[in-house]
Amino acid sequence: MANKVDSGVGGDVTLFHTSQLDQLINMARENSLWYLLFGLACCGIELIQTGGPRADLMRFGAIPRASPRQADFMIVAGTLTYKMAERAKLLYDQMSEPKYVISMGSCANCGGLFQPAYSVCKGVDKVIPVDVYVPGCPPRPEALTEGLLRLQELVRNERWSDKRRPAEAGAGTA
């Protein structure tokens, strides 16, 4: 919603009428990011512990949801096999826009330890776009919390005008 007006100082100045509203909306969005429980392997246990009493992901407004329809983002925690990859794509498609993906752990990032395996997909980004990569095998709860904070940063800086996702994502890394 950008209007170009002549401000009288020479040249065009672009005004964003919604800049303040963007901040307001994004503040609400970034503090209520609900995640889809998608514990695939070892990282799934660390995901449980991150949601547990000590690391307590809920203090950032991130509440686990069992259904993709209610989730804002998806934490792909663990090794993705070919057999599972199709299901992951299906789950991602079922989520409503705007949607984000955190890839947790080496296996989800690139296949990790299981690169020589015949049945493992070499990274979840072969199937769905990923916004934040959290390294580690498995990442500690602190690392995953940092990943969530990076995702919040991503959401905070999003503008209403260009909220539509580009075809290929991969904006931030943690």
């Binding site: 057999k83 299901r87 020589p116």
Partner: protein, 380 residues
């Protein structure tokens, strides 16, 4: 797979097909069940596994003997000490390497702590599947302390990679003994609290007692192991009956299903065996810390580029999910010819189909939770 069942569906009755998983909070990882139900009653539930098949057995043929140790962690990530120990024991049997006494004690200590941690997740998620969220948080809270202890011991929270062929990687750090004893004191009180909170809760008992009864002979026939087998009244524990490592030095009892609130072998018995086993593990850790001998923690002269004579060996250890056996075949080179892990969850999944007939849908969840299956142990 779907077609297989759909053939049998008669359009005139109430039967329907439910797809249960692979992404479902109560399937404990990625397992798919195709459930054929008549109203609320299940006529057939077919498990479809393999969503976490990571070709661990194939990778073992190319990593070298020592290099496979980190992969064994991933066979059972909830209790990663046991596959470590099983693999190390198998290779030690094959090479004749003698493990020092102190290392055997450290294996027992770390293993039993790990068993507690695993059972905490198990009973916690079981309560969560039945519908009580709080016990899960209690379990995870205690597990965090154990994770801290094991992290101080070997530097990892989840995938420990602590055992080595011929011993263990690290000795006890300073002050670890006292921290562990303090934790165990706290933990024994916690168990009482946990019993009050959930075990003897009326609703909980009613949800589990007399649900999915597995008689003893059936449990043996279907190859159930560990707490699932003992829940059915079969008194068998590898630690006591075929002792390995340092376990012959300790006094502990084996909890066996009694049918406390229902029939022997129901879901409650399996659950209750786990709760009691945590107390026994706590006893074993205390005894081991008390008797801990001095000495080396690694066998002398374990080659870095280990070559193993041709032969084969099977090692049995009692993992948190029951007997875990590693079958190792060597052909005289520095790589394994074949590594095979026999795990408790795999056979436990095989019993779900015959057992599910006539269960309610909600009881299927209780059955899966009481069998305590972990996805990578099924699929490897």
């Amino acid at each position: 797979m779907e077609k297989l069942i759909l053939r049998r569906v008669d359009q005139n009755n109430e039967e329907m097909i439910l797809n249960f998983g692979p992404q479902h909070p109560s399937t404990h990882g990625v397992i798919n069940f195709i459930v054929q139900t008549d109203g609320e009653v299940i006529t057939r539930a077919v498990p479809d596994v393999g969503y976490l098949h990571r070709s661990l057995e194939k990778i073992g043929e190319s990593t070298g003997w020592h290099g496979y140790m980190p992969y064994t962690d991933r066979i059972d990530y909830v209790a990663a000490m046991f596959p470590n120990e099983g693999y190390a024991t198998a290779v030690e049997r094959l090479t004749g390497i003698e493990v020092p006494r102190r290392a055997q004690y450290l294996r027992a200590i770390s293993g039993e702590l790990c068993r507690i941690a695993s059972h905490l997740i198990s009973v916690g998620t079981m309560a969560m599947d039945i519908g009580a969220f709080t016990p899960m948080l209690h379990g995870v809270r205690e597990r965090e302390t154990i994770n801290d202890l094991i992290e101080a011991l070997c530097g990892a929270r989840l995938t420990y990679n602590y055992h080595r062929i011929g011993g263990v990687a690290f000795d006890l750090p300073e002050g670890w003994r006292d921290r562990t004893l303090a934790f165990l004191d706290h933990f024994d009180r916690f168990l009482v609290e946990f019993d009050r909170l959930i075990t003897f809760n009326e609703i909980y008992i009613r949800r589990l007692a007399n649900v999915a009864v597995i008689p003893g002979p059936m449990a043996v026939d279907y190859g159930l192991v560990g707490p699932n087998l003992r829940g059915s009244g079969v008194d068998w524990d590898v630690r006591r009956d075929l002792p390995y490592g340092a376990y012959s030095d300790f006094e502990f009892s084996i909890p066996v299903g009694q049918g406390m609130f229902g029939t022997v072998g129901d879901s409650f018995d399996r659950y209750f065996c786990r709760v009691r086993e945590m107390g026994e593990s706590s006893k074993i850790v205390r005894q081991a810390l008390e008797k801990l001998p001095d000495g080396e923690i690694m066998a002398p002269k374990v080659q870095r580029n280990l070559k193993v004579e041709a032969g084969e060996a099977l090692s049995r250890v009692e993992s948190a999910r029951g007997e875990m056996a590693f079958y190792v075949v060597a052909d005289g080179t520095n790589k394994a010819y074949r590594i095979r892990a026999r795990t408790g969850s795999f056979t436990a999944m095989g019993i779900i189909e015959p057992l599910s007939r006539g269960l309610m849908v909600a009881d299927l969840v209780a059955l899966i939770a009481s069998l305590d299956v972990v996805a990578p142990e099924i699929d490897r």
